[in-house]
Each structure stands twice: as C-alpha cells, then as structure tokens.
Symmetry: C2
Subunit: 271 residues, 2 copies
C-alpha cells in the first residue's frame, strides 16, 4: 500500500529553487523554567523544540501547516524517536538541524540533529509524519499536494545514526499506573491532546527520586489515535515501576462510549 518514492535526477535538479538549503538549522536555549531539578532541559521541552524546528522548516519551504491549512490539510506526528548522549544544561544554547530524507505516499521521514554551537552533539531525533485532510481526518497522498513542493528539499546525504525503529511490543499483562481526564492545558490548537503533553504525563509515572539515578537514553513514541478534551486517558506499563531497570514500555489508551482504544505506545531506555 505504501510506496517509497525514488528521487529522480529531475527532482534533484529542482532542489533549492528558493535558495533554501535542504537542511534547516534553528537556535534554542535551555530556558531556566524549562529545566528539571537536575538543571537539564525536560525531554518534553526538547521534543517541543524539535516540533518547532519541523514547523519552521516546512513553513519556510512552503509545505508547512500555514500553507496546508489553506487547503484543509495538516501534518500529523505519527512517531517520534529521540536518542541522547547528553541533555542541554540550563542556559546552554543549542541548535536543532532538521531535514526530510524520504517521502512516501502517506508518510515522510524527518530527522533531527541536536548539537551545541561548537558542534558537540547532544543527540538525534527521527520522526514520521502523515498528512491528513482536516475535515475527513483521513490520510492524504502527500505526492499529490501542491506540485510536490516537499520533493524539492529532500536530503539523503546527512547522517542520522538512529536506526529505523521497530514497533514497540507489549505484553498482555500490562499494569494500570494512572488515569487522567484530558483538559484545557492538554489540548493543542487542533483540539487534540498535544503530542508533548503525553510525554510529560509519561515521565510523571516515575518518582522524582528515579531521575536522581537515571537519565533517558532513548525515547520512542508512536501516536496511534488522537485523543480529545474530556476523554479519560489510562497509562499502562509492562512492569511495576519499582521493577524497571533500563527499559520500560508504556501504553496510553482513551476510554469513551466506544470502549477503550489505544492512543500511544512508547518505549523508554534509561541509563
């Protein structure tokens, strides 16, 4: 069903017609009130900066949500993986480079490289995005939109060491850890629970003491169904919190009149 689009010489030639490079580079700072008690950036805020970089990069190149909203379409984040050697410390300035290395009919792969001004690399990110119709909420064939603008900015020669991640496997014996009702602060401009808010709620499954001994090496989250205001979100883990050593899988479901549906699944690797 999903066909990988092969870059032709022709698409390579029309790259950079607006003199914008395929790779966008954006500048951020680990703001003091976005840092946790260890004085390092919360991973949720780092995730937010990655999404900002994606948003700026795609809008500048004419295929972002600013354009898509005019034709009743939008980008939806389907998967986000972050692998970190280190997390920016309070007040540290860092850059996020982002580029798209592959466009398929229904998905694009977007990459992130997080480094400081001196080139020291904090880590990388990899994400998958779908384009949907904002009225039907159905997937749209990306290659049929706006003369394939996105293909002008494909970058296949910039390295990202994150391997293509496989689907997170879940046991049958998941443990319910908490249940919350999504409300005002959880909901984004599209009326859905904000992708980053899930990450914050997931990290809050672990006691603060945990983060004195452990840092996050990998964070991989797949967004399956959208959740909305007033829906009950349940957070499950594959092991008891006190039994977690280096790896834990988390499932979030929503419950409404149709029953309980999977919303996200996530795997975290701690060191």
């Amino acid at each position: 069903m999903i066909t990988t689009f092969a870059l032709t010489d022709n698409t390579k030639q029309i790259q950079n017609m607006n003199n914008l490079p395929t790779i966008g580079k954006y500048h951020f700072m680990a703001e003091p009130f976005h840092c946790d008690f260890t004085k390092h950036l919360f991973i949720g805020h780092l995730g937010n900066n990655l999404l900002n970089a994606a948003d700026f990069h795609s809008n500048e190149r004419g295929y972002g949500v600013n354009y898509l909203n005019t034709i009743n379409k939008t980008w939806v984040l389907s998967r986000l993986a972050i692998e970190l050697d280190e997390m920016p410390a309070i007040y540290e300035k860092f850059t996020v480079e982002t580029w798209v290395d592959n466009v398929m009919r229904y998905f694009t792969n977007r990459n992130f490289k997080i480094a400081n001004e001196d080139g020291r690399i904090y880590g990388y990110g990899k994400s998958i995005w779908a384009m949907i119709d904002t009225e039907t909420r159905q997937p749209v064939d990306i290659l049929k939109v706006d003369n394939q603008t996105i293909l002008k900015y494909i970058e296949t020669n910039y390295d990202n060491p994150i391997k293509k991640s496989s689907r997170v496997k879940l046991d049958n014996n998941l443990i319910l850890q908490k249940s919350i009702v999504a409300n005002y602060s959880d909901v984004d401009i599209n009326g859905h629970v904000n992708s980053i808010k899930y990450i914050e709620h997931i990290l809050d499954l672990f006691p603060l003491e945990w983060y004195k001994q452990h840092t996050i090496r990998k964070f991989d989250i797949a967004y399956i169904t959208e959740a909305h205001n007033d829906e009950t979100l349940k957070f499950y883990t594959d092991k008891k919190i006190e039994m977690v050593s280096d790896e834990v899988a988390i499932q979030i479901t929503k419950s409404n009149s149709e029953g309980e549906i999977e919303v996200c699944r996530c795997k975290i690797t701690f060191v």
Copy 2:
C-alpha cells in the same frame, strides 16, 4: 519592617555604568505548541516568557540568579499580576519589556510591558520578588548584597497602568475542586513546584468549553509557601465553577505531616 528605599541623586548618577539601559527588551514568539485551542498563547507560557525576561534582564545586569547562586542566594517570585487586552495569536512575535521601579529591603517591584513589534500593546505585568538565602530559606536584605548593583538600574519614569494590587480576600466557605500530588514535571531547578505549573493547574479547573466563551482579563497570583515533590496540592475556589461569571478566587494548599498550609492564592477576572 519594610522600608521603601528612596532613590538619591547619587544612585541616579551611577545608573547605566555598564551602558545597559534600565529597561530590557526581549523578543518572543507565540510558538504553535504553546497555543491553546483558540490559537492564542496559553497564559502559562506568557507567564514563563515574563519570568525569562526577568531572568535575562537581572543576569545581564549582574544581579540575577547566576551571580546570586555563587553567594548562596536566589530570587523568589512572591506575586505576579498580568492584565491583558489581548493575547498574542499563534506565530505572532511579541516583545516583553521589563524594568524594576522600586527596591525595598526585602522586596523589589518588577514591571512588564507586552507589545508587538509595531507597538500594539497586549498588556502589562507587575511582579514582586524577594531575595532569600538558599541554605536558610530566609529573606535577605537586598540592599546589603553586592554593592547595591540593582540600584543602578531603577526606572521610575516608564508607565505601568496596573494598580498596586490588594491582597486577595477569601471566604471561609471555599469549595475543594481537585487534589493532585506534585511530581517530576511540576518541580523546577530549585526542587520546588514551578510558579508557572500552579497557573496551568488553576486554568485546568475550568472546562475547555468555558474558554470558548471567556478570555482572561486579569490574573493575579500570590505565592505564599513553597511546595515540593510528593506533597499533595489542594485547589479551592470561592464559588462553584458553574456559578463563576466574571471573577473567581482560588486557593492552593499543601498537605504534609504538619497539616494543611496555604501555598498560593489567586484571583482571575474573565471577560
């Protein structure tokens, strides 16, 4: 006990010795993932930008937490009032100007003006800060610290229409609305519940539907006691949520082995 410090001609003369103006101006944008479902900046994120501006301004002038931490002292936010005619919309760039107009022995008054690049004013903020010793957690006489650096940057000729706010009065018959346990994401670099997180939790007392009909005109919060990880926060209002028309008072308490202690009190005026 608290003496207002009168500016002398001498302190005026030593202003700007570092060529930095008394008023600092900082640039922000209403980032897409910091906007609510109405596509306007969440007030919590605006509050965060005000605190950033305060932090940048005081650090640049040598009396910020970067210096204070070296002598085991820090600034603590005691009160924050925000009055808004309008809230920045998604992607709008805005500036926060900040200046200190008065320094007393134990408190300083810091002002904020929020405008766009064309000078259209969104609103103002007013804040009161105390300086404390990070070991004893006791107030410190601001005028005895570092040769009164702060006095070099007093600005008394820039207007802020926010009136000096009076203490929020609370009924005896408060209604308990929710109870949460403060955890990892709530806690800031000092190990205390983040000032902005209280604002987010307060706004979540109102259903999303409420914000379809109402916007925040004034938000005034007094921080009384610090709360910590694992403490239970209780949120009370002076009227039933469904009975709120334009004004509501909120109290937050924390419960620990010493009983229930007031943490914040807040008044919101909606239009």
